[in-house]
């Protein structure tokens, strides 16, 4: 666990430069590394600078803005073209990294966050602030984006022509910038000599950074380390990579990851692909997607599914197609529904296997309900027999259709995993008890009346009488709970975008209810503008017919 002290020290270094030192240096230097770590851990660090300076918000703001403008003049540079940037890179090469910030307009909250960060980190990094210009093209921004963007250009120990850059993917905020720059500064690869289960989750300010543990075997350590370094380079700014010669972890796992707020999950050698997807989905799409199914569907968006494997089924041919085969399996889906698309992929594979296997008494159909809306609504032509099913209102739906029989809804489970032995099982145990106990382990949970979790004493042999006794002790309240279930309340996880707030901010009158009219309530109300909705600009003033436009 060598990472944390170094983070604390780093932050101290950073904070001892710039404006702050002049303003209030003595207070800051009093911290020991331990104190500092404590403050960091408690999450109070970012407010500390300001609390010392003044106790109300206005003062804080004026202080930080005053400071910011000083920096703006002296420390923060501006570039317009790519050539400007290249020159800037040359000038700092071998000395400093560059933090390049783009804001669409000055005076925004994002701009203030950037200036505050520049104020703290100004001596460590060369800050550049841009609001547009051709240089955006070099950074991969096609048009000017309304939200701020930040990149770090790694110029300190890079010898090539241009400094490699890492984009910050999270939305720009003071805390986010702080976390991002810290991560940029942390060693690419941290070496561990403990088991991942012993390592605590990322702490402030990295609490939102996923951890990736790569296990190494003593005999391949050098090669593993090289691979880990490469991977860490690719994941820079996205995840913490920790290499470990794992002691306790069984060899059937080759890696593990911990997503923010989640327990440790292992990459099972056999299920490596799934683990990779989950991790990659999180790493690359967590900024974009809240929904794991939507994210994985999105990740595979380039892959075309072979829809030729299905028999076409629509309103016109329904009865004749169903009559052709003793069993027709029809998937009803919507292409904008992530669950439909995730399932469709599996369904295509089943259809392919049936084709390959020459199974001809089953025909597979997929009905796009965005296209065949009448079939999905079970609306048949009045002159035709009715469709043998009710309107489809849940997606995906699989119907089993036989000639002249009502449809049957396929209600099967869509997974075959025996989950007790999968990483999920370990995951669950870890969530219950805080760490993975030696196995086998007996847990009592989902007691109807309570959320408590009880663990059967690990050292006691598992025998019927002693288990019964244990259960009785639990019921009588004689056992101490080992943990508790999460509650059953599932509020939304992601913030929604408050359009009303944005409208009020940008155009305050546009979303406001009208005031009740005092007078002339009758004549003035005109819905849709009325005949005189158009403005007659000319004739009112002169009372003569306006001529056409002057030439």
């Amino acid at each position: 666990m060598a990472l944390w002290p170094s983070v604390a020290v780093l932050l101290l270094c950073a904070a001892s430069g710039g404006c702050l030192e002049k303003a209030n240096a003595s207070n800051l230097i009093e911290f020991t590394a331990a104190d500092f770590y404590h403050k960091l851990y408690s999450g109070k660090m970012m407010f500390m600078y300001f609390e010392r300076e003044g106790n109300n918000l206005t003062k804080q703001n004026s202080f930080s803005l005053g400071c910011s403008s000083a920096i703006l003049r002296d420390e923060v540079r501006y570039v317009h073209t790519d050539a400007d940037l290249s020159a800037m890179e040359k000038s700092v090469k071998g000395k400093k990294d560059i933090v390049l910030c783009y804001v669409s307009s000055l005076g925004t909250r994002e701009h203030r966050s950037i200036m505050e960060t520049a104020f703290v980190y100004g001596s460590k990094y060369q800050f550049i602030l841009i609001t547009g210009g051709p240089v955006l093209k070099h950074l991969g921004l096609v048009t000017s984006s309304p939200s701020a963007r930040v990149w770090v250009l790694h110029c300190t120990d890079h010898r090539s022509d241009r400094c490699p850059l890492t984009p910050m993917r999270k939305p720009v905020s003071t805390l986010g910038l702080h976390s991002f720059l810290q991560l940029m500064d942390a060693p690419l690869l941290t070496e561990l000599h403990e088991d991942p289960s012993q390592i605590p989750p990322s702490q402030f300010p990295h609490q939102l950074v996923p951890q990736l543990f790569l296990f190494s075997l003593p005999e391949t350590e050098a090669l593993d380390k090289e691979n880990a370094n490469t991977l860490a380079g690719k994941l820079r700014g996205l995840a913490q990579v920790l290499g470990s010669v794992a002691v306790q972890t069984p060899q059937l796992y080759n890696a593990a990851y911990r997503l923010p707020g989640k327990v440790l999950a292992y990459f099972h050698r056999r299920k490596y692909f799934i683990s990779c997807i989950i991790f990659c989905v999180h790493i690359f799409l967590s900024d974009q997607f809240d929904d794991e199914v939507a994210a994985s569907v999105y990740l595979k968006r380039g892959m075309d599914l072979d829809m030729e494997v299905f028999t076409e089924l629509n309103r016109q041919n329904f009865h004749s197609v169903v009559a052709q085969s003793s069993l027709t399996v029809a998937l009803f889906y919507l292409k904008w529904d992530a669950a439909s698309m995730a399932f469709l992929e599996a369904f295509v594979e089943v259809a392919e296997s049936l084709l390959d296997g020459d199974v001809d008494d089953v025909q597979m159909c997929a009905v796009n309900c965005g296209e065949w809306t009448d079939l999905c609504a079970a609306e048949s032509d009045p002159s035709d027999p009715p469709f043998p099913f009710r309107p489809i209102t849940a997606f995906p739906t699989v119907l089993m259709l036989r000639p002249r029989e009502p449809a049957r809804r396929y209600g099967g489970m869509l997974t075959s995993q025996t989950l007790g032995r999968t990483p999920a099982g370990i995951d669950v145990l870890g969530s219950y008890l805080g760490s993975v106990p030696p196995l086998p382990s007996l847990i009592l949970t989902h007691n109807p009346s309570a959320a408590e979790i009880y663990q059967y004493p690990p050292r006691l042999p598992i025998s019927a009488p002693s288990v019964l006794q244990w259960v009785q002790r639990v019921e009588e309240g004689g056992e101490t709970a080992a943990g508790a279930l999460g509650d059953d309340n599932w509020p939304p996880v992601a913030p929604f975008y408050d359009f009303l707030g944005v409208m009020d901010h940008n155009d305050p009158s546009s979303a406001r209810q009208q005031r009740p009219k005092q007078e002339k309530s009758e004549g003035e109300t005109r819905e849709g503008g009325g005949e005189d909705g158009g403005v007659n600009t000319s004739s009112n003033a002169t009372d003569i017919i306006s001529s056409d436009a002057p030439i």
Binding site: S147, F273, I274, I278, D290, A294, S296, V329, L334, W336, D337, A338, A342, F343, A346, E349, V350, S353, L354, V359, V362, T373, E379, P382, R390, A407, R408, R409, Y410, G411, G412, M413, L414, T415, S416, Q417, L419, A424, D427, L485, W490, P492, P495, F496, Y497, A511, R512, Q513, Q514, P516, R526, G528, G530, G533, G534, N536, S538, I544, I545, S547
Partner: protein, 675 residues
């Protein structure tokens, strides 16, 4: 309705004898067999109601036998859309009426994009015949009155023979056909759109002044471009272009050739003035030089202003000082005209109503239309509803309620109101799991034609009820305060309303940056886009009345704009789907995300209850497997093994079961029976 009671009533009141030849009783009388009357006829017929459609002419849609005068419809008939979705295709079919018959569409009578007007009555006949609608032709209703008694209100319609029709509900589908006129000095010298010659030869080398700048005025002007010496158009307001206002009743590009000849200075032109203030005077110019050749008298019409006219003078042979050119030397219309043509549109025929049955004039559209409630019932005339073009006062100059492609939906909405009020049937709805609301809303957003055509007027309503919700389609937005009484549905846990709307900013619609693409700027979308309003209770009438300027609904608790889309396909995962999901989650205060079975498993074990999606799927035996890695190997091994069909109680299923199982989709032994 009980006929004996009505008979008794008429005997008592002594109006007419109860002979079967002259008295008729119906629950529903539809007046007019035009598009809206037939549309209502279809809905009444489908629900097997006692109805009759009364029509004074001998066939349906007789208006279209005469109008538009130059015989080209400007309602588009787009046959090829690249989609098989019937509902979606109605977004681009402006002439068809709604029915359950998928092929009863306008395209059967015409393949022209702008069809000829003759095709429309043809289509209506087809529609009437194939649906077997009850229409009585040759019945010219000249008088309508209301009778109120303890047993309710009735409308009595009297025709040209003196026959009476007693109707519990009267549905006026008479359209607009009385030419709109404006009174000014010399208005008698003006010809009307309804009677002008449509032969361009008759206008050869003539100077023509057209009053009006709507589509009929421009259609007329366009037909004269090749023959008239100059065409001037005058009206109170500057011309409004449909492609700028998004209102299909404004000047359509198909009729706007005069704009070209005006802007390229080819002797045509547009002028603005209040028509009430003009005067038309006639000057007869005697030809003194060559009285023997041709006509010796030439009549010229001058446009002047009423204020220059001297007391006691009439419109014939006014004095020189009464002409505008005498006062203003560069007066734009100082030269005389050979003809003045009035093209001012049509008004509702109020003349057939008794005081007891007459709906008031609308506050807008110069009072040309009857004023109706948000559910199209005449104000002060309960049981009398206005359908079709005449009901356009609700959305005059904003939406499509005055046109076939709009009122076919409002007619359906009125029918749903009737079904609830008189037959106790709830507004039709779909019950959905809350986790299925997202795909369902996207389905409507991507295909629904009603809210698309009747944008800002009809909207879908989602009544939230915890883990379920009810989805109601195409409710008249302004009637929202009366939702319960009109639809029979109650609001318990809040509601979401889906509306399609245009941006209200006037921009350069062909200029740069006319469209937004960043979803966070969706509220600035200029083109038609979906907007969702969330209320925790029904808005009141007062709130509706005081809604923000240009809004279809009052300020909600939360609003969500879906970014406008060039293709009108709102299905992009990042820009459309996820922001909508977050909005819905916020409205129901519940995590609505999808989870794979493995996650559901984990969350079920670590929480007292897993998220809603897992409750609806995984806990009921239907989970979603993360199946990405299924390799060919699995299938090869399955397909090469002959022994996979084993003894099984469900013999014919077992092969499939095996495949599904090995593909990671095991069959549950119990198949839930549908129906």
């Amino acid at each position: 309705m009980d006929p004996s009671r009505v008979c008794l009533l008429c005997v008592l009141m002594g109006f007419i004898t109860c002979s079967p030849n002259s008295t008729h009783h119906h629950d529903y009388c539809v007046l007019g067999a035009g598009p809206s009357g037939l549309q209502m006829g279809h809905f009444l017929s489908r629900t097997q109601r006692d109805y009759i459609i009364l029509e004074r002419n001998s066939g349906p849609g007789s208006f279209f036998n005469k109008y538009p005068r130059h015989r080209k419809l400007i309602s588009i008939n787009k046959i090829h859309t690249g989609s098989c979705n019937r509902e979606f295709n109605l977004r681009h079919d402006w002439n068809s009426l709604l029915s359950d018959k998928p092929d009863l569409l306008f395209r059967r009578v015409s393949s022209e994009f702008y069809p000829t007007a003759d095709a429309f009555p043809l289509y209506l006949s087809l529609y009437e015949r194939e649906l077997g609608l009850k229409v009585q032709y040759g019945v010219d209703i000249g008088h309508i009155r209301a009778l109120s008694s303890d047993s309710g209100r009735q409308y009595v319609l009297t025709d040209q023979q003196g026959s009476s029709y007693f109707c519990s509900v009267l549905l006026l589908a008479t359209g607009l056909w009385v030419p709109q006129t404006i009174a000014f000095v010399g208005s008698d010298l003006v010809e009307g759109y309804e009677s002008i010659s449509t032969d361009p030869e008759d206008y050869k080398n003539q100077a023509v002044l057209i009053l009006g700048k709507g589509n009929s005025a421009f259609e007329t002007a366009q037909s004269l471009l090749g023959s008239a010496s100059r065409v001037h158009m005058v009206s109170r307001s500057p011309v409004r272009l449909a492609w700028q206002t998004h209102y299909v009743g404004d000047l359509r590009a198909v009729n706007n050739e005069v704009l070209d000849t005006y802007q390229l200075k080819s002797l045509d032109g547009l002028v603005e003035t209040h028509l009430e203030e003009i005067a038309i005077t006639k000057q007869t110019e005697e030809s003194r030089l060559r009285p023997k050749h041709g006509r010796n008298k030439k009549e010229k019409l001058y446009l002047t202003l009423n204020k220059f006219m001297q007391n006691g003078s009439n419109s014939t042979n006014s004095r020189a000082e009464e002409l505008s050119g005498f006062h203003i030397d560069n007066f734009s219309m100082r030269k005389p005209y050979d003809r003045v043509i009035r093209c001012l549109g049509f008004r509702f025929n109020f003349s057939i109503f008794d005081r007891t049955a007459r709906p008031p004039n609308s506050g807008n559209a110069r009072g040309r239309l009857p004023a109706v409630t948000a559910w199209y019932e005449g104000k002060n005339t309960p049981g009398l509803f206005v359908l079709g073009t005449a009901a356009h006062s609700r959305d005059y100059r904003t939406s499509a309620g005055g046109f076939v492609h709009g009122f076919r939906y409002t007619v359906r909405a009125v029918h749903r109101v009737l079904e609830h009020r008189y037959h106790g049937l709830q507004w039709p709805f779909t019950k959905l799991l809350s986790t299925q609301l997202l795909p369902w809303i996207l389905k409507r957003v991507n295909e629904a034609s009603g809210p698309y055509q009747m944008f800002q007027v009809l909207g879908d309503i989602v009544l939230l009820q915890g883990s379920h919700c009810k989805y109601l389609e195409e409710f008249p937005l302004q009637a929202l305060p009366q939702l319960s009484s009109l639809s029979g549905h109650k609001v318990t846990n809040g509601l979401i309303i889906l509306v399609l709307q245009y941006g209200k900013k006037k921009i350069d619609f062909l200029g740069r940056s006319r469209a937004e693409t960043d979803w966070t700027r969706a509220w600035k979308s200029n083109f038609l886009h979906p907007v969702l309003y969330y209320y925790n209770r029904l808005p009141t009438e007062e709130e509706i009345k005081l809604r923000p300027h240009g809004w279809p609904l009052p300020r909600p608790k939360v609003i969500h704009h879906m970014i406008e889309d060039f293709l009108t396909e709102w299905d992009a995962p990042i820009s459309h789907v996820q922001p909508l999901q977050r909005f819905l989650e916020h409205c129901v205060q519940t995590d609505l995300r999808h989870f794979y079975a493995e996650s559901c498993f984990r969350l079920s074990l670590t929480h007292r209850q897993p998220p809603l999606y897992c409750q609806h799927g995984y806990l009921k035996g239907q989970g979603l497997s993360q199946n990405g890695q299924m390799g060919q190997k699995v299938y090869n091994s399955v397909t090469s093994s002959p022994g996979i069909i084993e003894n099984s109680p469900q013999q014919d299923n077992s092969a499939l079961t095996n495949y599904l199982t090995r593909a990671g989709i095991p069959m549950s032994s119990e198949i839930k029976h549908e129906l």
